[in-house]
Every structure is written in C-alpha cells, then in structure tokens.
Symmetry: D2
Subunit: 139 residues, 4 copies
C-alpha cells in the first residue's frame, strides 16, 4: 500500500557513456535517472524548474539516498518511477528503477528538497502555497 500522493514514470535506456570499466553503470549516473522521473512528476503538477523560478522559490536537494540492488548494463531499458511521499514541510520523493522488460528491481532511493525563498535566501520550514495549491486536487 503506497502512501504516495502522486506518482510518475520515465522509461530510459542506459547509454554507453554511463558504463564504467566494470561494464556497469557508474553509480553517480543514477541521480540523472532519478532526475528524469522527478521532472516528469513535477511537470504533472506544473511545477518544474521554470515555474519554481516564477514562484520565487528554488527547491535545492538537501538529501539523497541510493541503494543499488542489481547493476545496470549497457543498452538496458529501465523504468524509473518517482513517488511524492512528503509535501507539507518539504518534498520527499521515492524512486524505484526496474528493468522495463522483466520488471526486476535494480535500484531504490529517495531525494529530499526544501523550499528556498529567492528573496531572503532562507530555507522554509513549511512548504509554500506555490506547492500546496498545486497539490490540492490530489489531497
């Protein structure tokens, strides 16, 4: 039973450039894969980077976690899901990477973002209206 308010998915292919000397995707590249799914999620509520700027809030990532269960290989098609699981005081998004064909689970992780008021440069302890208003339809 998921506690996610919103979910989104992106299907990607692991490019040659991401493969390291051990013939698997270098671990730092997974944050790119997460970002692709997070972008899809945030666009679904019309709150991608340009809309954040327009709202006078940036949302820097303050924490990230990755658990690598099975390695990814060159050319592998993957399905990256992003689930919004916290939104009241900050955005916490959970990620899962599955093989797009077999459904095998390869990676889990999360990121946490906090609103930063662009005028005061202060991190906010409560998510601003710019986010909460966009989520009303889902509550």
């Amino acid at each position: 039973m998921s506690k996610a308010l919103l979910t989104a998915e992106a299907t990607l292919e692991v490019p040659f450039q991401d493969i390291d000397a051990m013939q698997v995707a270098w671990h730092g590249n997974y944050l790119r894969y997460f970002e692709t799914a997070r972008t899809t999620l945030l666009r679904s509520i019309d709150y991608d980077y340009p809309q954040m700027l327009a709202s006078n809030y940036l949302w820097p990532i303050i924490e990230a976690h990755l658990r690598f269960i099975k390695p990814l290989r060159y050319g592998q098609r993957i399905q990256v899901s992003a689930e919004l699981v916290e939104w009241e005081n900050r955005m916490k998004i959970d990620y899962t990477i599955l093989d797009a064909g077999s459904g095998d689970r390869h990676t889990k992780g999360y990121t946490i973002q906090c609103a930063l008021d662009m005028r005061t440069q202060e991190l906010q302890l409560v998510s601003p209206g710019a986010l909460r208003d966009r989520l009303k339809a889902y509550l």
Copy 2:
C-alpha cells in the same frame, strides 16, 4: 572521537562544468568528489581499482547517502575527507566536504561497498583476505 580505522583527504576545486542553472554545484557531481577522496584512501593501503582486479574481487557500491548542508559555488576550494569506518564484512566510508579556507562544513555522506568474487560473481558476506591483510597494520 572518530571510529575511523583510516582517513584520507583530497583538495579539489569546483569546476565550471559542475555548476547548474541555480549557480551551485549540481547534486549528482558530489559523488565524483567523494570518489576522489575514496581513491586517495584506497591507494594508501595499495588497494585501488587495479589491485582489486588483481585480487579477483570487485567492490561495487551498494549504497550511497548524501546530505547537502551548504551549497558549493564556482571555483570554491574544498577539502574532501574519507574515513573507513567499517571493513569486516563490507567497506563503509564516511565523507565530509569542508570549505578549504574557512573550514565550514558543506556536505556529509557515506558509501557502502561489498566484495564481489569475479570468478563466481557472488557478493561476499565477509571481506576477503585481500582487504583484511592490507588493514592489519592499522588494527
């Protein structure tokens, strides 16, 4: 009081290419910074990637965590420290990124690696002799 068996440090500068549209280092680049300090640590016990290959074990990263306390800016000089805090069954390395001038703390994190036997392709539940022998001098 640190529980680290071994520590190493690397001094780096944040390059232009790592800076994103918000004028700070993009969060995925920090795993590169951690890697530089981890390489320094592993070389200090003669167990960098070529020596891992020669020992018939790879050490894939199975978990990574990052906590972003203060953003990094273009051209900032940073000191990245790596501390080996677990080694018996796996390698856990803690990282801290400080401003090289002020000593301000910007980032904390860790990575966990497990030995993978290249012949059987099986993850090991106990660190192999190839690592333990190299650590004897520090125990």
Copy 3:
C-alpha cells in the same frame, strides 16, 4: 544533395543537469547528444557496441568537431540527426541538432572512428568486412 549512405535520428530533451551557470547547455554535453543519434544509426545496421565486440573490432573515436550555432536551453526538445558519410577506410558521421518544433539549426558536427583490431591492437587503414558486409544493402 546529401552524400550520406545512411541516416538516423533521435529526439531528446535537454535535461536540467546539462544546463550551466550561463543558463545554456554546457558545450561538453553535446557529445552525449551526438552519441545517442550515432547509436541509433549503428543499431539500424546491427553494429552497435556489443556487435563490434563480437566482430573483434572496437571503433574508438579519433576525431570530433562541434560548431555551436545557437545555444540550447533547459527542457528544449531537439532532433539530432546522424549521417554516415564515409565508411571505406573509417566511419565519418555528420551530426545536426535542430529544435524539434521550429526546425531551427542549433549545432553541427562530426566524429571520425577507425577500426581497432582487438587481437593485435592495431588501427586498420581499411574498414573490416564486419562493417562493409553490413553496408552492402545500402550501396
């Protein structure tokens, strides 16, 4: 009038991570975009990286050229085309990046690759049969 033997196209979107402090895609990222279209081209003749390995030839890039006509912005949808324009002694591929909507031309470039015999580690002055056989249908 194109002299291309084969052409392929890939449609991409410029991700946040590729945008630099000047709010445009950092110039080094374009070689990723070229690579995506080149992969599509090489797969169309069943000669992607795994098939190269199986043929005992690697095809390292020995030259690359990029001309940046108009900058790319965050979230821009682009169409990257790859055209095989030399194949007898080496592979030369020409690239063009257009805005996927307006068709405006943003970037031009090329890469040159040479066959490297994996057994002798020698660069070949004539493209091996593994490539020429795959191109017969197009000659």
Copy 4:
C-alpha cells in the same frame, strides 16, 4: 615556434568515473580536461568567469575540435596545456594533452569563443576592451 600569446598548464589525473567500457577515457570527458587548462590560462590574466560577468561579456564556445592520438587510461597523470593563439576578434585556444611522465602526446584540440554582450545579447565581431586591456602586457 609557437604563435601563442599566452600559455598555461594544468596537471590532472584521469579519474575512474571517466573510464568507459573499453577501459579508456570516454571521448566527451576531454572537454573537461581542456576546460581546466583554459581556466588556468584565463585566471592568469584575471579574466575567469566571474570577471567576464563583471565586464558584461560572456564568452560562449562556438567551435571545438578534438583529435585523439593515443587513448588515456585509468589513473594516468596528464599535462594539459592551453595556448591563446587568436584574440583580436575572438579567442582561439589550442590544447595539447601529454602523459605527465613520458611526455607522449595523446590529444590535440582547440576551442573558439566569441564575446557576447550581456546587455544586447549580440555576438561581437571584435574582442571588447575587457579582453584587449588584459592582454596589453603580453603584446
């Protein structure tokens, strides 16, 4: 006999993350190596990115060329030199990558940058005083 007005050098080591499945540095990473040497060059005349901003000119790269003579391997120490060879109408910088030990030549290349007036967003056909004044001492 070099026609360079200014030269600068940076010594780097090829990190694990840059190595691809063929056990050599992926070709797109070389533009990072060039950038490190270019930064050193531009700092020597006090015209790095922050000073460009202050001068109201950006200097986007409009052309780049790379010739890969010998591959780079993991951990290899390299010396990257940057030479300013054109400056009157645009900046053209030539690069050479040598093995830091043997002096073997691995890579050659160049980049061309043009001044962009931040107020009008127009590319300049003549280099602005902000650059020419800084070069006077070398003419």
